[in-house]
């Protein structure tokens, strides 16, 4: 007769294997499509880029310059900067550019969602891109994204949001992580399950805002919420691995943890909000992807609890036979663990290889593979504490 902890251990092992194999086969099926370059756009529709900015004096110049220098017909572009009550020189810097494409508005501080919606209401383009003021794009980015709106049902397109090279180990770690996120998102796009239109840069068909509404102004991760809403209307979100956008990541461990706790809290709340999509009616997104998010989180905490339980109930004499115990424990869990680690290493390799122009040192790839779980442990634990203590939501 199996005990409860044995049943849970077996269930987690099987779930982990299933998820790993699912992504392996998803990759195998789409590996050729994965790295395909975007075609050139057949036409150049009008595009409005909405850039909310709050105290971004350090980065906004580069952000605006990257837009002004991009390879897209000038008369088809409109840049809308919405200064969200900055107290630094953001507004002065934005207004210092003399270009008819650029319009700068100043509003009372109301948060990113509000500033985005203000800009979208002012926008006149057939397509609307949203962009963070601490990000910048490459000259070909707009063209590549526009080219992906090649089907009627495509309502949003996400670019390859990356982190510029740096000497800061934490930033380099995040560079690898972002590549993994991009690679996974690309795979998810093959089962119509892109769950986010990233804040640093995303492009939408204007009509999507008329059909699903504007950004949720009170959401912790409004860029995810709008993507889920688009999915709930059965519209398509495509993902590019070649339309480059660079953004600034958190520079300290504390800032990174705060960001991830916010993502996790907002993310889970959003999935809960859209739990009605857990149904075959919403294809793979409803049948697999949304449940996967809840199950992964539950599995994470279960593994943690089982590890703590095993540690607490470890017999006292175990410390005399540590080496022997390793041998005695070779079995299902070691096999699953080794398999998952090997697949993670291979997928990280594929992700890094997908971006040949991004040079990453091997030590940061190794750091990512082994440090990522500790980061997850950190932010998931903080997430749980914050949720249980009903901690204040922080942007």
């Amino acid at each position: 007769m199996l005990s409860l902890s044995e049943i849970l251990n077996y269930a987690i092992a099987f779930f982990t294997l299933f998820t790993t194999f699912f992504f392996i086969f998803l990759y195998i099926e789409n590996r050729k499509e994965c790295l395909k370059k975007s075609p050139s756009p057949k036409k150049y529709p009008t595009v409005s880029i909405v850039m909310p900015a709050h105290n971004e004096e350090k980065y906004i110049k580069k952000a605006i310059e990257s837009l002004l220098n991009c390879d897209y017909p000038k008369e088809k572009m409109e840049i809308i900067v919405v200064d969200d009550g900055s107290t630094d020189r953001t507004y002065e810097i934005a207004t210092s550019f003399k270009d008819e494409r650029l319009k700068v508005y100043r509003i009372k501080k109301g948060g990113k969602g509000k500033a985005l919606n203000y800009g979208i209401r002012k926008a006149r383009g057939e397509f609307i891109a949203t962009m963070d003021a601490d990000s910048y794009i490459m000259p070909k980015t707009l063209k590549e994204l526009i080219a992906l709106f090649d089907e009627e049902e495509v309502m949003a397109v996400t670019p390859a949001v990356k982190i510029p090279p740096s000497k800061n180990w934490l930033k380099e770690f995040q560079r690898v992580e972002y590549m993994m996120i991009l690679f996974s998102r690309k795979l998810l796009s093959f089962i119509d399950s892109v769950p986010v239109t990233p804040g640093p840069f995303s492009m939408f068909k204007r009509e999507v805002f008329e059909k699903v509404g504007l950004f949720d102004e009170n959401n912790l991760v409004e860029d995810q919420e709008i993507a889920l809403r688009i999915q709930s209307h059965n519209f398509k979100i495509k993902s590019s691995l070649t339309a480059d956008v660079y953004t600034q990541p958190p520079e300290t461990l504390g800032a990174l943890l705060r960001q991830r706790v916010r993502w996790q809290r907002g993310g889970i709340r959003n999935y809960w909000k859209y739990k009605f999509m857990i149904s075959p009616k919403f294809g793979d997104f409803g049948l697999y992807f949304i449940p996967l998010n809840f199950l992964s989180l539950a599995a994470f905490f279960l593994i943690l609890a089982l590890m703590i339980e095993a540690f607490i109930n470890q017999p006292y004499y175990s410390k005399y036979i540590l080496m022997e115990i390793m041998g005695l424990n070779i079995g299902l869990y070691t096999l699953v663990g080794a398999f998952v680690i090997l697949v993670s290493i291979y997928f990280t390799y594929l992700a890094v290889k997908a971006f040949p122009n991004e040079k990453v040192k091997a030590r940061y790839i190794i750091l990512f593979i082994f440090f990522y779980w500790y980061l997850m442990l950190g932010y998931n634990t903080l997430f749980l504490i914050k949720e249980l203590t009903r901690g204040k939501a922080e942007w």
């Binding site: 092992a13 119509d192 022997e324 070779i330 699953v336």
Partner: protein
């Protein structure tokens, strides 16, 4: 957009997961079996190692060989303890039981006990001989006492040689020891022939060890 369900991917993922899952369970079982086989082999080896020393002791019981005897005894006890812990780990954590192997192990433990007793007498050694009688049948106190004894051995600051016997698996050796010390309840601790019944904390056991050690040295 018309939503699709990738049944073929779920099917493939399920089949491959099941295959690895079953392989993992089989590897686990094979590991356990091979561990048991390894322990059985080691037990046999130690048994013959002890027999060699005993034979030497019988042939020429001479204090000149004490250094050799002690060296051999140390090696034997390290191995016996390690096998004991591994057997307990397989039982307590992995739920793998092999009473036949346990009985063989108890026989070796008994050999080691008598060897230690004899070397102690011959070479004038002051270590304490301690036997812990336990059972795995509904005895929470036995588990706790086992842990406390190990802690006490680390804390007591006196040399202790520890032997443990499960009194309820039909081992004739364990029965012999039970009868020798008149053991009727579990857990019971025998320290240099004195019986201490029931659970005791490591602090109490440390006190017992020190008292018995002083008594032994006085006599």
């Amino acid at each position: 957009m018309v939503r699709k369900i990738s049944w073929h991917l779920y099917g493939l993922a399920f089949i491959f997961s099941l295959a690895v899952f079953i392989a993992g369970i089989m590897v686990g079982k094979a590991t356990e079996n091979s561990a048991m086989e390894g322990l059985r082999k080691e037990t046999e080896e130690i048994s013959s190692q002890i027999a060699k020393v005993q034979l030497l002791l019988l042939t020429d019981e001479n204090q000149n060989f004490c250094a050799f005897y002690e060296e051999e005894l140390k090696k034997v006890e390290e191995k016996v303890e390690s096998i004991g812990y591994q057997l307990s780990y397989l039982e307590d954590v992995k739920g793998v039981y092999d009473n036949e192997l346990k009985r063989e192990y108890f026989a070796v433990e008994a050999q080691a006990y008598f060897l230690a007793e004899r070397i102690s007498r011959l070479c004038g050694k002051d270590y304490l001989l301690v036997i812990n009688f336990y059972t795995n049948k509904n005895c929470e106190e036995c588990k706790k006492l086992g842990e406390e004894v190990l802690k006490a051995r680390e804390q007591a600051g006196v040399p202790v040689k520890l032997y443990s016997f499960d009194g309820e698996i039909g081992s004739s050796i364990a029965e012999g020891f039970k009868s020798k010390f008149n053991i009727t309840t579990y857990p019971s601790l025998v320290v240099e022939g004195s019986v201490y019944e029931g659970y005791r904390s490591s602090g109490e056991i440390v006190r017992i060890f020190r008292e018995e050690y002083d008594n032994k040295n006085k006599s």
